[in-house]
Symmetry: C2
Subunit: 580 residues, 2 copies
């Protein structure tokens, strides 16, 4: 029974950076070869980054991806790494654009597999870009038949994993660009256990880590045996190469040539000696890591930190600036930023108006001090007064001018000092349109735009409780957690003047937004009819405001981002069905 | 040979307005029945509006669409309109969401057809929402076999039109939500001629008019005979019901039950008497209209006016405001707005800074006077000075503050007076990121965001030349057309300080943006390599700015809207391939 040392490259790549991504593959392969790995597998579309979106439509980009693969194969060989099998995702073009996986060995592309199942829902638009493959690909390497699959293939009954069982393969590799979503990791393992059983072979599931625009990739890569045992599980969000030694079924002498009418089978073989890995004496056995699951708050915090860090760094920024109001939202955003890029790279600005409370300034200063962030105060009264007197403003127009003067001030600081501006709105506010367009909605990135207000509080408490893990002070002032939320755009204003209690609001929003439930259904579940109708009406009317909000990390099934596409011009009012 | 009077309802509906759209169907059917029509056909998804986007994912919306169809059928019957066959598009759900066409007669839905070919490119995401139908549907009505098809079905070789030929039908109805694009109308007629020949029967092509967010629908509905003759062609952009009398092949006594293995055929029959329309004496023959084609500028202008008018009205606004700089862009936008909603509903604001030239004010005032628009001057120096002194700004940060003070001023006027703010940027500027985010990019709608600068000038000249058609003064001051473009954010600034000549820039952009050509290809076509590399780099880096721009009417193959989806975080630089 051949025994292979498998290297699982849970890496972070950048969309469009073909040369950089290829260099990273080379470097990780060097480490894996030094560690005695026979095979290293990289995530989906490693060379191009994922998702490359409309770059796929450019012939020059498709050619560059194919060229990058050829160059990589040659470079691996030239670097003396030819004996290590490298499985790497890229964009191919054989007359149609393909989401592809190459098996590279001894400087050549031994086999290529084209993804069968193209997701076209939620954040995925793969049928816009790619043509499905229909061939099942097996590579015989070091005496083992290895089947190649990509991402969504694993979610399909009767797909390549069923064929893998019929074909008698020894290992199925599944490479992924699978975005984070709360509790998604709970469904991954049972699914992989089912597929490993179906294939009758271990499944090596490799996912990427890091973030691309709104998408966060949490990793959670693993190796699952056909009996359901987890041989290796990588921690979430941590970029590294993980290793496992595993005994695999020897390739059959006479493999079935056909596995039914469903799929063509293509078989390839590397030029590696077929008996090599049966003698494993040369290498010290590796104790594969099985990372424990983390609690929900830690997982969400990790997603937000990863999302912010990669957006800042991959877009060439090194620092951020944001308005610190003393409230919970800006405090949590600042704490996420400090965890992501260091408190010294966070530039807090207090922007008090004549309606700002004294605690809004002291709490903001307290926060900055705890985070090691820079802090300054820019009173907005002179600018607001100039607008109010030039335009004779009052009421809502005056309230909004305050928010917009703050936005303009932060952008001016950004222009002058080069920081990325962070918007601090949460999902509950965005859902109901409780924000000022070009005001608090200003910014390049919105770290908590997919975090409901009740979860913002929960995260703040969790982060403070776990501050001692790092031997530091709780980052968020208790005042900011405890005070009633207010936009402070007029004297004595409170969020509850305009909105229901956040616990109830969030419960309704979870059903109406995340669950796509109708008003009638939510009322039937026991919520107050008038309140549900009011909330639905607010949500239905706020699409334009949400569209103007900066991108932020997706953590829920339905964020207000790429996974949600509503018309702006829209006379549908679900509340009209409330009585039906 | 039966002769039918066909009514082609080239109507304007609103997404989500199920009740309003159904009422419009009833009203138009009443008129058609009075005019003696045997059949009236409405566009794709008339009841829901098109495209309904993620509303389709809501079960309550799908149920409401089905209910709206049932109610409509009953209402038509109750109104005494049951004898007129009504073909209407809607959203169905038979366990899967369907883009559907119902054939309604005598108060019942006689047949329903589910769209076969679901476009999933450009602005279309139909595979995200719908499941394909695979059944070919024929309805026998008044002695004629009528085949039902929807939109994209007509673009497919070997699709339902081929089956229609084999099935020997007398008429093929094709209902559409086909968005406007420059020169698209030139390809529609030859395509329909080919399909009519393939089907061996006339094709009734019904398209909607009006606009939905970025999409403009130009109508251009027609009736094409199998010999290619155009029996009826509706003008672009004009909402109306158009009529034609046409002799159609009688339904065969023994129609083929099968038309090959490709498609199941379902046959239905109305309860109308089968011999009625052979005696046509009762009605006076109608001379069907064949609208002439319009020149390119007229067609584009019509799209921009339609796009603006419907965005304003369908979103509940009645008036617009915009900054008038005296330059060509704001002048053209104001002229479009005046044509769309009347000059009296256009509120121009001159926002001079200390760098503004005298002619910027006089040309703006001249424009407003020509348009009958209101006009006011709000000097921005007091607000700009407040920012500059509070933040000690200079250079780019100071330039941008001017643009942002203008944006905040227009939004304050909007808040106080209820006008929709128009952004005045053109496609050339957007392409290369020559705009200030939260400054000139502020607004609810951007009428010329898909119009290259050179076309802006061409449209201005064309509109002035055709002013005499309406007996009015040329709307755009010659000064605004003739002066060199400048952002006037610093003394003596000209666009050409930062950008190539617009004639060259637009030629490169057409290849790089609309054509998705690579840098190497454009250089090979004879453009200066350094310039192409520079332009490509500007375009590649400006995605974030473009995302922040308001929606505007799409007129080109690739606008900066729903039809173009690029990553923000993107290290791909096509110019790197320039030397390859």
């Amino acid at each position: 029974m051949p025994s292979l040392r498998l290297a699982l490259a849970q890496v972070n790549y950048t969309v469009g950076d073909l040369a950089g991504n290829a260099a990273m593959v080379l470097e990780r392969t060097k480490a894996a070869a030094a560690a005695g790995a026979h095979l290293i597998a990289f995530p989906e579309m490693t060379l191009t980054g994922y998702p490359p979106e409309d770059l796929v439509l450019r012939a020059s980009f498709r050619r560059a991806s194919q060229q990058a693969l050829r160059t990589l194969a040659a470079d691996l060989q030239a670097a003396g790494l030819g004996e290590t099998a490298v499985l790497v995702g890229y964009l191919d073009d054989d007359g149609a654009a393909r989401n592809a996986l190459a098996f590279v060995h001894r400087g050549t592309v031994v086999a290529r597999y084209f993804k069968h199942h193209l997701p076209n829902y939620g954040v995925f638009d793969e049928r816009r870009y790619f043509t499905s493959g229909s061939t099942f690909v097996v590579v015989r390497h070091l005496g083992v038949d290895i089947a190649l699959t990509i991402c969504e293939d694993v979610w399909q009954d009767g797909g390549p994993f069923a064929v893998a069982g019929a074909a008698g393969v020894g290992l199925v590799v599944n490479i992924n660009g699978s975005p984070y979503e709360r509790d998604k990791d709970d469904s991954r393992l049972p699914l992989l256990q089912r597929r490993a059983a179906e294939a009758g072979a271990p499944v090596l599931y490799v996912n990427t880590v890091g973030a691309q625009d709104e998408l966060v990739f949490d990793g959670d890569s693993m190796l699952v045996r056909p009996n359901g045992e987890v041989a290796l599980r990588a921690p979430q969000y941590v970029e590294d190469v993980y290793y496992a030694d595993i005994d695999l079924a020897a390739a059959p002498a006479d493999p079935p040539l056909s596995v039914g009418a469903a799929m063509t089978v293509q078989r390839f073989a590397t030029q590696a000696p077929s008996a090599l890995p049966t003698a494993r004496d040369a290498v010290t056995p590796i104790a594969a890591q099985v990372a424990p699951r983390t609690p929900d708050c830690a997982e969400v915090w990790g997603a937000l930190v990863t999302g912010l860090r990669d957006y800042v760094r991959k877009n060439g920024f090194r620092s951020v600036t944001l308005g610190l109001s003393g409230g919970i939202d800006s405090a949590v955003v600042a704490a996420i930023a400090a965890d992501a890029i260091g408190g010294e790279n966070v530039h807090g600005v207090s922007l008090p108006s004549s309606y700002s409370s004294e605690h809004s300034k002291t709490d903001a200063a307290d926060l900055a001090e705890r985070l090691g962030a820079s802090y300054r105060v820019v009173p907005i009264a002179p600018m607001v007064d100039a607008f109010v007197s030039a335009l004779a403003l009052s009421g809502l127009a005056e309230e909004n001018v305050q928010a917009r003067v703050r936005g303009t001030t932060l952008m001016a600081i950004s222009n002058a000092e080069g920081h990325l501006v962070l918007a601090t709105g949460n999902k509950s506010e965005l859902a109901v349109g409780y924000s000022t367009i070009y005001g608090d909605a200003v910014g390049g990135f919105a770290p908590i735009k997919d975090v409901p207000k009740t979860l913002v509080w929960e995260l703040a408490r969790w982060r403070n409780e776990h501050a001692s893990d790092t031997g530091r002070r709780p980052p968020i002032p208790e005042n900011s957690i405890g005070k009633p939320p207010s936009a402070e755009l007029r004297p004595g204003q409170l969020d509850t003047d305009s909105l229901p209690d956040y616990a109830i609001l969030d419960a309704v929003l979870e059903r109406y937004v995340d669950g796509d439930q109708g008003v009638a259904e939510i009322v039937a579940a026991g919520f107050d009819a008038e309140l549900v109708v009011r909330v639905a009406a607010l949500v239905d009317r706020a699409e334009w405001k949400r569209r103007q909000y900066p991108p932020g990390p997706k953590i829920s099934f339905k964020s207000f981002g790429k996974d949600r596409r509503l018309p702006i011009t829209n006379r549908w009012r679900d509340e009209q069905t409330g009585g039906q």
